[in-house]
Each structure stands twice: as C-alpha cells, then as structure tokens.
C-alpha cells in the first residue's frame, strides 16, 4: 500500500488531525493518517473540557455514542493563597439542556472513538507509526513523509501537520521554530478515582451533572501558571501547569508543585481517599497570537497546537484544533476539486478562512495577554492573590474593629505591596490586554 499515492497525509490522530482526516475522507479524498501511539489517544493528555459546538460541526450526532463524562452545569474560579481561596462560582440550571454545551471527557478514550469515525469515513489510519521526516523535493516543496516503518517515502499532494505542540517534523524541516521555554507551559496531571456517589456529594452534583474548577494564585509559587480540578463520572482530573521558562528559572519541580496543590486545604478534601491511576505530563502552547507560525507552504499546512492555536486565557485548545483541522481540510478540498496545485499561493485560502473564523479572532483579541502575564507573574500569581485573600479575611472577621479602619488597612496593604502607580499600571495593562 505504501507504493500508493495519497491525496493527503495527515500526521497525528489528535483533535486537529482527526478533524482534518474525517473532513477530507468524507469528501471522498484518499487520506492516509499516521499516528505514533498504539492507538489514537494513547499519547495525549488533556484536562479535559470538550466544547460541543465545534465537534457538532464535524459529527452532529456525537452525543449518541461518544465517550462523554459529565455535562457542565457549574464553573468555579479560585484565587488561592496558601491557606484559603476566594471563589467565583457560576451555576445555572440552563446548562441542564438536551444538547449540552460543554462536557468533561477522558482524552485517551475520546480520541479512540473519534478515530473510529475517521476510519468509518474511509481514511486509512496507521497507528504505531512515527513519522520521522518530511520528504521535500529539490525546491523545498513537501511531497510526502518518511516513517520508522520502512525505508521508502510515502507521497501525497499535501501533508497536514497535526503533530501537536512539540511539532518535531515542522521544526526539523525548518518550516517553523521550535517552541521556546517562555511560549509553552508544562502541565502535570493525575487521575484520582473515587466512587461516583462520593464525587457527586463532594461537588454537589446529581446524575451526569459536572463541575470544573480553575485555580490561580500562590499555588504556582509566583510562576505563570494555573491549576485545574475537573469532575468526571468516577474520577477527578487534577493538574497544574506553569511556563517551562519559569520551571527553568526557579528550579521548582513539577511533581512537587502538583503535590503542594493537592495538599492545599481547599483541594485535599475533594480528593481524600482517592486512588491515583495515572500520572501524566504534556506541554500547552502559551505564546498566543504573536507566536503563530507560517500556517501553510508548498505542499503543507499546519493545524492545532503545532500551529500554536491555543487560547490559554480561556483554556481552549481542542476546539481550536478541531476547527483549524476542519477548515484546512475544506481549503484543501477546494483546491482538489478545482484541480489547482497544492502550492503555498493556493493554500493561503486556509489562512484566509481561518482569519474569518473565531479561531484567529479570539487569538488576536488576547494578543498582549501572554507577555503581560509572563512579565508580571510575581504580581498576578503571588502578590495579588495574597492581598485579595487578606482583604476578604479582614472583611469577614468580626472583631470589633470599625469597618472604615478595615477598609483603610486593606487599601494600605495593596498600596504598600504595589504602590499606587503599580496598581493603576497593572489595572490599565490588564484592561488593555483584555479588551
């Protein structure tokens, strides 16, 4: 079969690769998809929240048989110091709808299911195959791939690079840069198993209702990072991620950071008595809009995390991956059906279509956020959480101190820590990056 020529080769069977391969196979294209894992998903790590809308565009009836955990009825955001947390909760009965908007999933299981849909659509899916290099002609045009399975090359009109954040092939072929330590976060995560009833009682849930908690503050020890706790049916995904550059700078170890997070008095009771069945680690693209590389060239396009299409502020990645994969596939199909070559000039259509979608619009909106967070990590992840917690405590303790004095002392603690100029500067910079 390797002698065959394909319309398209897709590298990777993650969210982006599966979306691309599915879309092209459904349109009747001859697609080869290569995945290095034993099965699709066996190398992948995620929180994970699945956004229904983007999957529905690919598989409208996915709720019938996709391995979904819980539909989310509640979102919590915690600002943490070492002993307390200030929380924002949003819970709504409206989320108990027929076609829920967000679900928790278990990535290894979900990807396997997604991959079965790709096979059903007619793509050739080869797992346990690591692509080692891109094959290029004398002009640098991408004409196929080389794998660790055999010596020869496999040829195709176009290669869709859906290889994820690490993006080895694209960087080896000098199509884009290697991710830099200040543009990727390392997340470590554990799966904590508990009886269903225990999870439901601890998180105030019934049936398949779900809740997720995002947490920031002193848990990252002044590094740019966030923690998360997601309730699944019979387990809890719990993890924390910080910029690789911050780990490098501070010498903090990821597993000790995770342990510290688990022992926090607000977190420990949620996982007490659980059995840990997996420990995993993965990078997350955090560079934002400014880190997006060239997205297409002669004979290739790049989609998903490999293209840094990840909205770290909103913790969205897989939906951008699925959407970019689908859009790339649609652009490729247009070339194919109009019998146009897969040249950089023609494939620029992919970028134009992506520009019009939420993917690049959202990325652009937060283009200044990563730098702000990274250069002010001490303030945003250490000083402010401590101040906020202190302010709440002062406010809530009833000890005979007049309220006006409490307010004054709270204000003073903020000004002492950051100065008026610092406070206004931070607020201004934050507002500008957010707007």
């Amino acid at each position: 079969m390797i002698e065959e020529r394909f319309d398209a080769i897709v590298v990777g069977a993650g969210m982006a690769g599966n979306a691309a391969a599915l879309t092209m196979a459904r349109k009747g294209m001859k697609v080869l998809q290569l995945e290095r894992g034993e099965y699709a998903g066996s190398k992948n790590v995620q929180g994970a929240i699945l956004y229904a809308d983007m999957l529905e565009k690919l598989i409208p009836e996915f709720r019938e048989d996709a391995p979904l955990e819980r539909h989310l009825v509640e979102q919590r955001f915690w600002i943490m110091d070492d002993r307390s947390h200030v929380g924002l909760h949003y819970r709504s009965e409206d989320f108990n709808e027929e076609r829920a908007n967000r679900y928790t999933i278990i990535r290894a299981q979900f990807d396997r299911w997604f991959s079965s849909k790709v096979r059903e659509a007619g793509a050739t899916v080869l797992c346990e195959t690591t692509v080692t290099d891109l094959a290029q002609d004398a002009y640098g045009r991408v004409i196929g791939v080389r794998t660790d399975r055999q010596d020869g090359e496999i040829h195709a009109d176009v290669v869709v690079l859906a290889e994820g954040v690490n993006g080895l092939l694209g960087t080896r072929a000098r199509l884009r840069e290697r991710p830099k330590p200040n543009k990727v976060a390392l997340a470590v995560k554990e799966m904590h198993f508990l009886p269903r009833e225990t999870i439901e009682a601890r998180f105030n849930l019934s049936g398949d209702e779900g809740v997720v908690i995002e947490a920031a503050g002193t848990i990252s020890g002044g590094m740019t990072g966030m923690g998360f706790i997601y309730a699944n049916k019979e387990c809890i995904s719990l993890g924390i991620g910080c910029l690789v550059a911050d780990f490098q700078r501070t010498g903090r170890t990821p597993y000790e950071l995770l342990d510290h997070f688990k022992r926090h008095p607000s977190v420990a009771p949620l996982i007490e008595g659980s059995e840990v069945k997996e420990y995993s680690a993965h990078l997350i693209p955090e560079g934002g809009y400014k880190a997006i590389p060239q997205l297409y060239g002669d004979g290739w396009v790049v989609v998903g995390d490999a293209a840094q299409l990840n909205n770290a502020i909103h913790r969205e990645g897989s939906n951008l991956a699925m959407t970019s994969g689908r859009i790339a596939a649609e652009a490729i199909f247009q070339m194919k059906s109009r019998r146009l070559g897969m040249t950089a000039e023609n494939l620029a259509l992919y970028k134009r279509m992506l520009d019009r979608s939420f993917v690049l619009k959202d990325m652009k909106k937060y283009k200044d956020m990563p730098r702000l967070m990274h250069t002010n990590s001490q303030n945003f992840f250490l000083t402010y959480p401590q101040l906020i917690s202190k302010a709440m405590q002062t406010y809530l303790r009833v000890d005979g101190t007049p309220k006006s004095e409490k307010q004054k002392s709270t204000l003073k603690s903020f000004v002492n820590a950051r100065s008026w100029i610092g406070l206004f500067g931070d607020a201004f910079r934050f507002a500008r990056a957010w707007r």
Partner: protein, 97 residues
C-alpha cells in the same frame, strides 16, 4: 516554600510503558561539566529521567519518560541533548490521558 520530597517513581509506577530496550529516544551529549540547561533538566523533567552520575555528569534514563518535550525545549537549542519520539507504538501508553 518548603517542599517535601515526592517520589516520582511511585507516580510513574501506575503508568503503562512499552520500553524499546536498547534504543533510547533521548541522548545527552558527552560532556565533562554540565551546562546550566542540562542542570535545569534535573528538576524540570516531570518524570525525573535526568540524574547526575558519580562524575557529576548529567545522564538520562528514558524508561519513565512521558514524551512531554520539556527537555527538548530547554536542552535541544544548545545542543545538549538529541531528542526524538520513540519508535511507533513504544513509550508511554496513557489509558486516560
């Protein structure tokens, strides 16, 4: 902040691996004195694959590697390490991910 020592080995113990014996996918360049980047890997690797030998050089044992790429991002630009994925099917096998 005081950190109690956590045994990574215990954590990795619950993971599934198919080790490609004799074919490590990461290699450390021979050195006499480790660079700051190499030393950073002792701490930054979430599986603690990097360790010092008795000559004070950094060594890698990839058996517990989760293929996250952290050491690649830190150590490849300086040429301190060579990084590839394991052969197809080998390496870590996440059941949940």
């Amino acid at each position: 902040m005081v950190e109690r020592s956590v045994r990574v080995e215990d954590k990795l113990f619950c993971n599934r691996y198919l080790v490609d014996a004799g074919r490590p996918h990461i290699k450390v360049r021979a050195h006499t004195k480790p660079s700051p980047q190499l030393l950073a890997l002792l701490k930054a690797c979430p599986a603690r694959c990097y360790d010092l030998n008795d000559k004070g050089q950094v060594e890698v044992t990839v058996d517990g590697c989760m293929e996250c790429g952290t050491c690649r991002v830190i150590g490849e630009p300086t040429g301190d390490i060579e990084w590839s994925y394991p052969r197809g099917g080998y390496g870590v096998l996440f059941k949940f991910g």
